[in-house]
Amino acid sequence: MFEVVAEGTGPLFMDPDADKAREFFRTKTRAMVNKVMTVSEAVGKFVHDGDYLAIGGFGANRIPTAVCHEIVRQRKKNLAFAGHTSTHDFQILAAGEVFNRCDIAYIIGLEARGLSPNARRYMESGKVESCEWTNYGMACRLKAAAAGVSFMPARNMMGTDTFKHSAAKVVKCPFTGENYVLYPALWPDVSAIHVHEADIYGNCRIKGISVADLELARASKRLIITTERLIPNDEIRSDPTSTLIPYYLVDAVCEVPFGSYPGNMPYEYFSDEEHLRLWLNVEKDPEEFKKFLDKYIYRTRDFNQYLELCGGLERINELRAIEHLIDLEERG
């Protein structure tokens, strides 16, 4: 037994017991079956009120926007959320007030773009129970879960108020006597990750940075994949080195072209900074924001309709040019 030197006082929303997780994964199907469905079906089937939810990507980069919208549209409630590498995804989910518990590494902000007024109001309202962490701390929790162990040691966070309001513990290393912070494993009930390519079974390819998605995919009990495009299984098998998420981790595969919009999708299209600014501006007035949400989320049928409202393929073409550093104004 380690000697516990210090303990955070924050709530632990999920059980870090590795044997319980093993029992769950023992029952998860290994069958290679067609998992293609609509986002609406996937969210209806795999996201339940009260679930612990995590979202892949990095805030407004390679995010499963359609799943975030659908969770709001289906008015899911009492979720717990992993506020990890979250920006626009957090903004959408906070707009729907779908969660009432939150593990916080980074929330409310959209990096250099500023803070979301509505998400801030929601977090200051007292409606959300929270626990503090750091980006690497949350990644460690997912990494522990992905490895099938109940904790992961690290050397950050000690001595700070972030630690005091976390649910981590500091122990003495049995080998060296040094202090280490132990992060409890986190097995989310359900997660969604947006990828470049997937086959109908859920074998996935991601280009560019993986952020914490390799760990997240392996830690999640249920996993919804949205993909820019479906590819044949033959293509997966012709180049297995490129598979980053194997099919048996995946429960649903949804083909959603431009599915990270208004976020960046590496090598495909850049973020729509004008549309993200529109969100931040309209949020200043709660009444206006309500109308905005009605128009863009609640009264839209699906993600394609949202894209149409935002300028459709014409806008996407502009964002593709920005991503590829092509100057559309410049002509010979």
Partner: protein, 255 residues
């Protein structure tokens, strides 16, 4: 001497701290501009890394996000968060840049809440990767405006560790030895930390300001380095690189 604005001066002062061959973890904004300037002006072998996974990119433009595709444009590796954070934890990253709502005399940073944590008056984003950088990189650098509401005696919430309560406190808590705050660069001065007391001290003051100006805009007693000098002004070449190549759209230097 060409005219320059405060942001340009701060970016140049920060860039000069990054020697050739060093590695630096940066976010967006002024720190990224400083790293890009250093790379172009005097540190061609500077290794720039981003927390979401970008390693040693040849940045074509200023990134908007630490995870956008610019952060691994022509990079040597597009990795992930654990790869980057663990590289810092192994001791391979010399510098990191941080910011926040409050910084105190020991360089502790608050980016979480103002007021009671349970009932926050103002909620901020939280640590993000700041605590990780500030715990694990060898030297912490901060670029922030000099303001008495920002420079407080004791951060009301320590999101990211500086020297905590003073000498030996980081090591006692369990953080890696010989790490901690290095420089704080503001619109008025460059500050370092006294090697004995670990308290913030003024090392150089920008042209047009006095020690008293800096002290008046600080909520605690500042120490003085043995020799307080005038901050060297940006050179023509630094300004040219900054304006023409690093930030031609003036996203940062136009603020």
């Amino acid at each position: 001497m060409t005219d320059y604005n405060t942001m340009e001066l701060m970016i140049c002062a920060a860039a000069r701290n990054l020697e050739d061959g060093a590695s630096v973890a940066v976010g967006t904004g002024a720190p990224c501009a400083a790293a890009m300037l250093a790379q172009k002006a005097y540190a061609p072998n500077l290794v720039i890394i981003f927390e979401a996974g970008g390693i040693a990119p040849l940045l074509p433009t200023m990134p908007i996000s630490v995870g956008d595709s610019r952060t691994y444009y022509k990079a040597v590796m597009a990795s992930g968060m654990c790869e980057v954070m663990e590289t810092i934890q192994r001791g391979l990253v010399d510098y990191c840049f941080l910011g926040g709502a409050q910084i105190d005399m020991y360089g502790n940073i608050n980016s979480t809440v103002i007021g009671d944590w349970e009932k926050p008056k103002v909620r901020f984003p939280g640590s993000g990767g700041a605590n990780d950088f500030g715990s694990l990189a060898w030297k912490i650098m901060v670029i922030t405006p000099q303001d008495a509401r920002r420079f407080v005696e004791r951060a009301s919430f320590i999101t990211t560790p500086g020297y905590l309560d003073g000498p030996g406190a980081r090591e006692a808590a369990g953080l890696p030895a010989n790490t901690g705050p290095h420089k704080v660069i503001t619109n008025m001065a460059v500050m370092g930390f006294d090697p004995e007391s670990k308290r913030m001290r003024v090392e150089s003051i920008h042209k047009g300001y006095s020690f008293d100006d800096v002290q008046e805009n600080t909520g605690f007693e500042l120490l003085r380095a043995p020799e307080v000098v005038e901050t060297p002004e940006p050179t023509e070449e630094e300004l040219r690189l900054l304006r023409d190549e690093v930030d031609p759209n003036r996203y940062i230097i136009g603020r």
